[in-house]
């Protein structure tokens, strides 16, 4: 959304006329009547404003620019999104400054195992001799990394398949891609994940991202396809075709900017799923034991009988942190939804 004040000639600042996008208020959403032009110089078309010149005391004509509120303002306006952003910022802070928040190394297993929380070990140590607090802090890094990368992976695949198949709706290409998508939707994800993980010789972030992306794209591709189908029949797309633009340019340059908030919210949802998937996979023993992650902590806690040994913290805290980070993402998504649905802005608080 470019700012137009800089390019507009001097004149009164553009006033906000109406809430944009309140679909029910057809009157209010449309552009104001004849109220165009820029201050002193009425555009040639506007005969009404020409007419008003003959009348003394006619109201001054403004440039009524119904600019929608800035995206960050919309995001911040939602209480849930606010909480989500703050929580997420908290996790990002931890991830970045983890080494400064703890004196220990997350891979250091030289502590006396099974210590109760103390000044030295805030959450105690686990049976393997790791400092739980330190591992918790450093685990944030992996969760965020997998969230970002997994979300990106899913979004990219979903975009490519969804957009192409949506734009080519009705052709064999779309039939093929849609079929693939529907198939991917019904194939049980967990066995597929297990196969992929089992087939790969090494474990690690890359593999997890791959697994998450390859198993998680279908639903997103479907929504993107649906969205592009509605957008594709819009006249501006036909106009771009008449303007001589090619398919890829139309899809990614003309159509995509109109579904930014959908893409973003899809990305966040995919990130959430990726973080959860990492936890699940790690819990089943498919993770990489060399990395410190919350899923890995849960797995170790479970495999080492944390509950029966009374090490509640070891099991509870990573689980709660996982839920918190995914919740923060979901909350942010509430705000993102407001971007595309102005009606919701008035609903939610």
């Amino acid at each position: 959304m470019t700012e137009n004040e800089t390019s507009a000639p001097a004149g009164p600042p553009p006033a906000q006329l109406a809430p944009v996008g309140t679909a029910a208020e057809a009157d209010a959403t449309n552009a104001p009547p004849g109220g165009a032009g820029s201050g002193q110089r009425p555009p040639a078309e506007d005969r009404w404003s020409r007419a008003t010149k003959h009348v003394e005391g006619a109201p001054e004509v403004h440039v009524h620019v119904p600019r929608p509120p800035r995206w960050y303002a919309v995001l911040w306006s939602s209480k849930k999104a606010r909480i989500g952003i703050v929580m997420l910022a908290f996790f990002v802070f931890i991830a970045i400054f983890a080494p400064m928040l703890t004196p220990h190394d997350p891979n250091d297993s030289s502590f006396v195992p099974v210590q109760d929380p103390s000044g030295e070990h805030w959450l105690g140590t686990n049976t393997l001799g790791f400092d739980i607090y330190t591992q918790l802090l450093f685990g944030t890094r992996l969760s965020l990394a997998i969230g970002v990368l997994g979300g990106l992976g899913v979004t990219l695949i979903a975009l490519l398949i969804g957009m192409v198949s949506g734009y080519a709706e009705g052709t064999w290409l779309d039939d093929g891609l849609s079929f693939l998508t529907n198939l991917a939707l019904v194939v049980p994800v967990l066995p597929l994940m297990m196969v992929i993980v089992a087939y790969s010789e090494t474990r690690g972030l890359g593999l997890l991202v791959f697994v998450v992306a390859i198993t998680g794209w279908a639903g997103h591709a479907r929504t993107k396809r649906a969205q592009i189908i509605t957008l594709r029949s819009r006249e501006f797309v036909t106009a771009a075709r008449f303007g001589g633009d090619g398919m890829l340019r139309i899809v990614f340059r003309e159509i995509m900017p109109n579904m930014t908030s959908l893409v973003v919210s899809g990305f966040i949802a995919a990130s959430t799923a990726a973080i959860a998937a990492e936890a699940g996979l790690s819990f089943m023993g498919f993770g990489d034991p060399n990395t410190v992650s919350w899923g890995q902590m849960l797995f170790q806690a479970n495999a080492n009988g944390a509950l029966v040994q009374g090490l509640w913290v070891w099991l509870l805290v990573p689980g709660v942190f996982l839920a918190l980070i995914t919740t923060s993402l979901s909350f942010v998504n509430f705000g993102v939804d407001l971007l595309s649905n102005a009606q919701l802005r008035e609903e939610e608080n």
């Binding site: 198939l183 019904v186 066995p191 479970n302 996982l322 839920a323 009606q343």
Partner: protein
């Protein structure tokens, strides 16, 4: 008519693709079933005995045949309804094994899914109708958080607290000492055993329905026909339930079928945790044992259930939504 023919054709095509994937996915995993089996007998720290492997291999009778030949055989067997013999439960057939496990999962998942659907749509409807109320924010914030908890984690906590520490419920298994049969003793036994796994699933299962229903309902409430109904002075309850909820239910019904598949996947961990004798556990077991026939059959059953459910929903959709009847 054409609509149904197309849908049926699509259903069959997807089924075929799923059947083929079923064949491929298990075979892609590394590991030799005989070795896995012997490893299980000897235990992890034991030494694998080549003589045993030889014998077990001879028993299971699979050969290193060409993949295409194997695929063709598999299709032929499948056409005859023969799913093969399970490696894990040799010499029982896969059919017998699944026959034992399926009712448990269908019972557990079916009941929780239906309960989740009812509870979820009810709460979602109410939250949407009373939107921006305390109840609404409580429901939407609470369910977001709960929905983000890992089901295995919830299960572990529930198991430990309710079963072991407090001892209120039996911890593991599908039933205890009672003899299976249609007597109320057994039914009570089964119910008490199903309670904890069902509770675990119920923490997260309704969340999708709650949020989905709430959102579509809020959307429907902005519709013109709602405004007209309000202008016409129809009672609130009628507007909420007869008008908005009725329309909002349509997309939710579609998601019902798909979420069945998700729930089945999710039940693997929960069933394992509670030693529940259902399909989820069986799947985990078949996978770790490289029990190809069993894995294939379970995947096939799962996919068939999901596909059939969405197929039925597709067909039903015409009944629920009059618009779908003609236009397609």
């Amino acid at each position: 008519m054409r609509y149904y023919a197309r849908k049926t054709g699509y259903f069959l095509l997807t089924l075929w693709a799923a059947v083929t994937l079923n064949f491929l996915i298990p075979r892609l995993q590394p590991g030799d079933p005989a070795e896995v089996m012997v490893r299980q007998l000897t235990g992890r720290d034991g030494e694998i005995d080549p003589t045993q492997i030889e014998a077990v291999r001879a028993m299971l009778g699979y050969a290193d045949e060409n993949v295409f030949v194997a695929y063709w055989k598999y299709l032929q067997q499948l056409a005859q309804g023969d799913l093969g013999v399970s490696f894990t439960y040799y010499p029982f057939t896969v059919g017998e094994v699944i026959g034992q496990a399926l009712p448990w999962t269908l019972g557990l998942i079916g009941v929780t899914q239906i309960l989740a659907f009812l509870l979820g749509t009810f709460l979602g409807t109410y939250a949407a109708w009373r939107r921006n109320s305390r109840f609404d924010s409580f429901i939407s914030v609470g369910s977001t958080f709960l929905g983000n908890l890992q089901s295995f984690w919830i299960g572990m906590i529930i198991l430990f607290v309710l079963a072991y520490e407090l001892g209120w419920f039996p911890a593991v298994g599908g039933y205890g000492y009672t003899t299976p049969g249609w007597n109320w003793l057994f039914v009570a036994d089964v119910l008490s055993h199903a309670f904890l796994p069902a509770l675990t699933l119920m923490v997260t299962a309704p969340i999708g329905f709650i949020l989905g229903m709430r959102n579509t309902m809020v959307q429907e409430l902005g519709g013109d026909y709602i405004r007209l109904a309000q202008a016409a002075g129809l009672p609130d309850r009628k507007v909420a339930l007869g008008y908005a909820a009725r329309n909002a239910l349509l997309p939710t019904v579609t998601s019902f079928a798909l979420s069945l598949g998700v729930l089945m996947s999710g039940s693997i961990l929960v069933e394992q945790l509670f030693d529940y004798p259902g399909m989820g556990r069986l799947m985990g077991e078949a996978t770790s044992n490289r029990d190809f026939p069993l894995m294939q059959a379970i995947l096939l059953t799962t996919i068939t259930i999901v596909l059939t459910a969405s197929f039925v929903v597709d067909l039903l959709y015409g009944v629920i939504d009059p618009r779908a009847r003609k236009s397609r």
